[in-house]
């Protein structure tokens, strides 16, 4: 009896309270809501986890109770804690016959598990069963889970059923089935490749929602293979035309725009299909032109479509008229007060600039305003635009700006990006070597270790190879200026490791080359570096190798070498280093100091970092030595492969392994009856056999010393290149070590950095006088910036304009013909493709649908508010103002009435049931003890005004 009582209470509890959960759960949510710190929240959650762990283990937990536990688990996981102890219960709940419980189970597993989780296998069977259910809601719930949980291995288990569901009577099911197939296509294109035609067919589904969903997979398919979908261009154009002409049911309207999300998707697809295709592009001219005219640029969604049109135009081959339209839309965006629209404008500019380079000029001031805007997002977008429009004439201004910005930010991700952009621009457009080295120094100094190591190697290579011209004098000047700038920087504290590596290498190679600096001065600096950054082994390694080169050059030139005392102590310290690499370098340095000039010169010749080093992989120079050893009775070498039992078993083992892999897949049909077992492979075959990579390793260290790619990744690998080779002749060994400190190998190609200088002087910036006379009131500072950014292009772009207008003329001529044919074509092709009859039932439904009325209210009030997009924002911004909950709805409405007095009365009547609802809600909440006047009154505030 007692037990029955509790069940009764639990059942009653379930139905009590407007939120449908037990007191316990509401208390949990409440206490989390009132916790004042993350630590307090964590403590509450941890104790909740304990409670749930205990309760879930109790025998015979009633199902309703279990459902709540699962929702509590979801809550815990949402707050960032691990609820994996309860996953299995959520999985079990999906097996339940009651849809309510099943749905909860599915919700929980889709939130808890991802497709690689071990528990998925327990759900597949249930999903299979549910996909066959008569109740479409069960099927929908299962399809939701399919989209989230089915992985490549389990696709075959559900695929046939999902395909059947494409023809289900309910459009909601068809739509989800499409999305599931789409998902399969992404996971494993081969599994559904034979079903692709279904997507085409579903494009003609009678339900616009299904058609809209079909656009998602088609977008993917088309982006993979444009050519085989070219025939759909006219269909898409037709659909878009119908949508813009409001042929879709009213319920797809959004803020008075007909089905805008479908329009945007169509535009994205058409941009793919018509990219670089003149005839396809021409088919779109008319509908795009219509869109520019029809889109309401006072609503956000209208602007979203306009922006998508701009993107589309930047992909296709546009007509001059469309380009004009797009430019006009962009200038509207840029002139807007909204930061969002400015951002879109800058983005659009960046896209169109590829097609017509003069478009940015009209907007130069807007661009500079955005560049100086306090909003980081906008600023970054503007830098992206500048990056796209950099030429040799404005590279200095742009890169300087970028570097200033780079220094000012902390976001490492973006710092890396902007640093690499600076480097790229500097490499491409550098007006002079001096400038280039300065820029690189700044980048290294401030973005330091964020820079890709390749950049450092490129810089070293550039300094070593010079600019490719046979002008040794210029190269020497470049090196000298590099050395000078490094000697200035080197004593600054806390330089990034990568930069120090470059500095050390350059000082080692060229520090004394010019004779301006003495060996002891340079070596002193290098010792300082090794000393100051004693925890950085790479830097130390570079420094020691540099020292070795300095001394080698000294010895080779016949001068007497005085090893500085600090250098001596450094060597001694490194001789006992834990790092074998450093130890190796130190020993080499010590050995080198005792050699005579001739040997040293052949080990480390002056300025030879670009020379190729021939590597004899077969070690043939040792043949004589081996011959001699064998003659004197040594055993010949047996390779490891031969030693461990011969090739036969090796291949056998591997083929068996391979076989296992291919047959390893999940099976969902019943297993056949076990057969008498076949005697297994002889155990000898399973004896561990060395993997192929292993026995080829002895060759490896030698080949690394010459391969550039190996060196780039040498940070993570063993550094074998500097290590003394066991069997190498002394000369060979030391040449390896020389190259170990010579990062990028000269890939005997000429440098690509030779452009720049000459071009820069010829097209150096000319301030635009015509522009200045037009707008006299503008800040001269900005004008100067504008001139330096855009001015340079004026001379070149004028010629561009000439050529581009010439190029467009034939386009105009041909453009007219298709314009005339398109309207003729579309009525023929379109109706049988898509037939969106206006459902006659909708108006009846709408009359009884309270939601419909609410929507009408929302829309009308927005309209009356002057059509501004900010009506919503208006209310959301003053969220801090405490709103008494009992009157929250009314007060909001009275606010609303300020902007739309006319609709106030109407809105009160239509909102009647809602405000009653809100009051009820409020009363309920108070019952539960959540006090609106306590810490967070805004909890009660309507999200929508």
């Amino acid at each position: 009896m007692e037990q029955l009582k509790t069940i009764g209470r639990e059942l009653a509890m379930g139905s009590q309270g407007g939120f449908g959960q037990s007191k316990e759960f509401l208390d949990l949510v409440k206490s989390i809501g009132e916790s004042r710190s993350k630590a307090e929240e964590d403590r509450i959650v941890l104790s909740e986890i304990d409670i749930l762990k205990r309760k879930l283990l109790e025998p015979d937990v009633p199902k309703r109770k279990m459902k709540e536990y699962i929702i509590r688990l979801v809550y815990i996981e949402m707050l960032g804690h691990d609820a994996s102890f309860g996953y299995i219960h959520a999985v079990k709940m999906t097996h339940d016959d009651n849809l309510l419980l099943k749905r909860t189970g599915y919700l929980a597993v889709t939130l808890f598990l991802d497709e690689d989780h071990d528990l998925i296998i327990l759900i597949v069977n249930t999903i299979q069963k549910d996909l066959r259910s008569d109740n479409y809601l069960v099927v929908c719930a299962a399809l939701n889970a399919v989209c989230r949980l089915i992985n490549e291995e389990t696709i075959p288990a559900v695929l046939p059923q999902v395909v059947d569901l494409l023809n289900h009577g309910k459009e909601a099911v068809r739509k989800k089935a499409i999305m599931a197939l789409h998902r399969f296509h992404r996971k494993s294109p081969s599994s559904v490749s034979h079903l692709v035609s279904n997507f085409r067919r579903k494009l003609c589904d009678s339900d616009p929602g299904v058609m809209g969903a079909t656009l998602c997979p088609l977008f993917d398919l088309i982006s993979e293979d444009v050519a085989s979908y070219k025939d759909l261009v006219s269909s898409f154009v037709g659909i878009l035309k119908q949508v813009t002409e409001r042929k879709l049911p009213k319920s797809y309207d959004y803020h008075q725009m007909p089905a805008p999300f479908i329009q945007i998707k169509l535009l994205k697809i058409m941009a793919l299909l018509s990219s670089g295709d003149k005839s396809a592009s021409e088919m779109m001219y008319m509908v795009l032109g219509d869109l520019f005219r029809k889109c309401d640029s006072s609503t956000n969604i209208g602007n979203a479509i306009l922006y998508e049109c701009i993107r589309c135009i930047s992909c296709i081959i546009p007509s001059p008229k469309l380009l004009e339209d797009a430019a006009e839309a962009i200038s509207k965006f840029l002139k807007s007060d909204s930061h969002n629209l400015k951002y879109m404008g800058i983005d659009g500019l960046g896209r169109l600039i590829k097609i017509s380079s003069d478009i940015a000029e009209q907007h130069q001031l807007a661009v500079i305003d955005c560049l100086e805007d306090p909003d980081d997002t906008l600023k970054r977008k503007t830098f992206e635009l500048l990056y796209k429009m950099t030429k040799s004439s404005n590279v200095e201004v742009i890169v300087d700006r970028m570097i200033d910005y780079m220094i000012s930010i902390n976001d490492n991700h973006y710092k890396t990006e902007i640093a690499s952009r600076c480097v790229e621009l500097a490499e491409q457009f550098a007006p002079s070597n001096q400038w280039f080295i300065q820029i690189m120094n700044k980048v290294f100094e401030h973005a330091g270790d964020l820079v890709n190591i390749k950049v450092a190697h490129n810089l070293m290579r550039l300094i070593a190879e010079g600019f490719g011209e046979d002008d040794d004098d210029a190269d020497n000047k470049l090196r000298l200026s590099a050395v000078e700038s490094y000697l200035q920087i080197i004593s600054e504290p806390k330089l990034p490791s990568l930069f120090l590596q470059v500095i050390s290498w350059v000082l080692g190679e060229y520090g004394t080359a010019d004779g301006k600096y003495s060996a002891s001065y340079i070596s002193g600096k290098l010792c300082d570096v090794a000393d100051a950054y004693s925890s950085d082994e790479t830097v130390k390694g570079y420094a020691v190798s540099a020292l070795m080169k300095i001394y080698a050059f000294e010895i080779a030139s016949g001068r007497k070498v005085d090893v500085l005392p600090e250098c001596q102590s450094l060597i001694e310290e490194l001789l006992a280093s834990h790092s074998t690499d450093l130890q190796q370098r130190a020993y080499e340095l010590q050995a080198l100091l005792s050699l005579d000039a001739r040997t040293v010169e052949s080990i480390l010749p002056l300025d030879a970092s670009c020379e190729d080093i021939e590597v004899d992989k077969d070690l043939s120079f040792l043949n004589g030595y081996i011959q001699q050893a064998i003659e004197s009775g040594a055993q010949p070498y047996v390779s490891e492969r031969e030693r461990s039992g011969g090739m036969f078993e090796t291949t056998d083992y591997h083929s068996q392994d391979h076989h296992e892999v291919t047959s390893h897949a999940l099976r969902f049909e019943a297993y056949e009856l076990p057969k008498p077992s076949v005697p297994s492979q002889p155990s000898a075959a399973l004896v561990p056999v060395p993997e192929p990579s292993y026995y080829s390793e002895p060759h490896q260290p030698i080949s690394t010393s010459s391969s550039v790619s190996e060196r780039e990744s040498s940070e993570i690998k063993l550094r074998l290149d500097g290590v003394k080779q066991k069997w190498g002749r002394p000369s060979y060994q030391s040449s390896t070590s020389a190259s170990s400190s010579t990062p990028p190998q000269a890939a005997n190609g000429t440098s690509t950095h030779s452009d720049g200088g000459g071009v820069a002087s010829s097209s150096s910036s000319k301030p635009r006088s015509s522009y200045e006379s037009k707008k006299p009131e503008i800040d001269p500072e900005k004008q100067r910036l504008a001139a330096s950014l855009f001015g340079g292009s004026s001379s070149s772009s004028r010629s561009d304009r000439k050529s581009s207008s010439g190029g467009h003329k034939p386009a105009k001529g041909t453009a007219n013909k298709p314009l005339a044919t398109v309207p003729k074509e579309s009525p023929i092709t379109v109706p049988d493709l898509l037939d969106f009859d206006e459902p006659t039932g909708t108006s009846d439904v709408a009359a009884t649908d309270p939601f419909k009325e609410l929507e009408g209210l929302m829309e009308s009030s927005r309209q009356d508010g002057g059509g501004s997009t900010d009506v919503m924002g208006l209310y959301s911004t003053d969220a801090s103002a405490p709103v008494k909950t009992t009157t929250s709805v009314d007060s909001l409405l009275s606010e609303l009435s300020d902007s739309s007095r006319g609709t106030y009365h109407q809105s009160q009547t239509t909102k009647g049931p809602n405000s009653k609802e809100a009051l009820e809600k409020d009363a309920l909440v108070r019952q539960m003890g959540v006090n609106p006047t306590s810490q967070n009154p805004t909890l009660f505030k309507d999200l929508l005004g």
Partner: protein
């Protein structure tokens, strides 16, 4: 892999998480980090700035409604204004469903907010753009709930009477 939306995040002005939905794979640890990072940036942004932020090579579009921030993470090359409207679309549907939705509704009914989101987005793509269609399927589901509840309360009455 290409997703239109990588995740959806609802955070209150105090930085409390109200709803999270992850369409791209993230570990629990990454999730906490993402939430911490993003709420740090977004909650501190001024009211007049862009509703977008560039973040780790992605773009996060957010919008504030009363005390609640709705955030969606998308690819860098996607249409931000569209996503802003998807957020608004979702809020409007919530508003219809709850009747003048407020943050408290979402706090106590987060699972319902999930059900609604599942009808709107699937695998990170917009699956339905008609408010009415979403409302219809959600109410069909709720009717089942109501039926189950009635059943439950009648049973509880029987039990209550039996135990008197």
């Amino acid at each position: 892999m290409y997703f239109q939306i990588h995740f959806v995040l609802l955070v209150s002005r105090q930085g409390k998480v109200r709803l999270t939905k992850w369409y791209s794979p993230y570990t629990q640890k990454e999730r906490s980090k993402v939430i911490r990072e993003l709420s740090g940036v977004i909650l501190n942004r001024g009211p007049k700035l862009c509703n977008f932020i560039e973040w780790r090579g992605y773009k996060v579009v957010y919008k504030r409604y009363a005390s609640l921030y709705f955030c969606m993470c998308i690819d860098e090359a996607d249409n931000e204004l569209e996503v802003l409207e998807i957020i608004h679309h979702y809020v409007e549907i919530l508003d219809r469903y709850f009747g003048s939705v407020c943050e408290l509704d979402l706090i106590f009914n987060f699972h319902k907010a999930y059900y609604i989101l599942d009808e709107l987005l699937i695998a990170g793509e917009l699956q339905e753009s008609s408010k009415k269609t979403v409302a219809r399927i959600i109410s069909a589901q709720d009717q089942l709930v109501e039926a189950a509840k009635e059943e439950a309360s009648s049973i509880s009455n029987i039990i209550a009477q039996a135990t008197k």
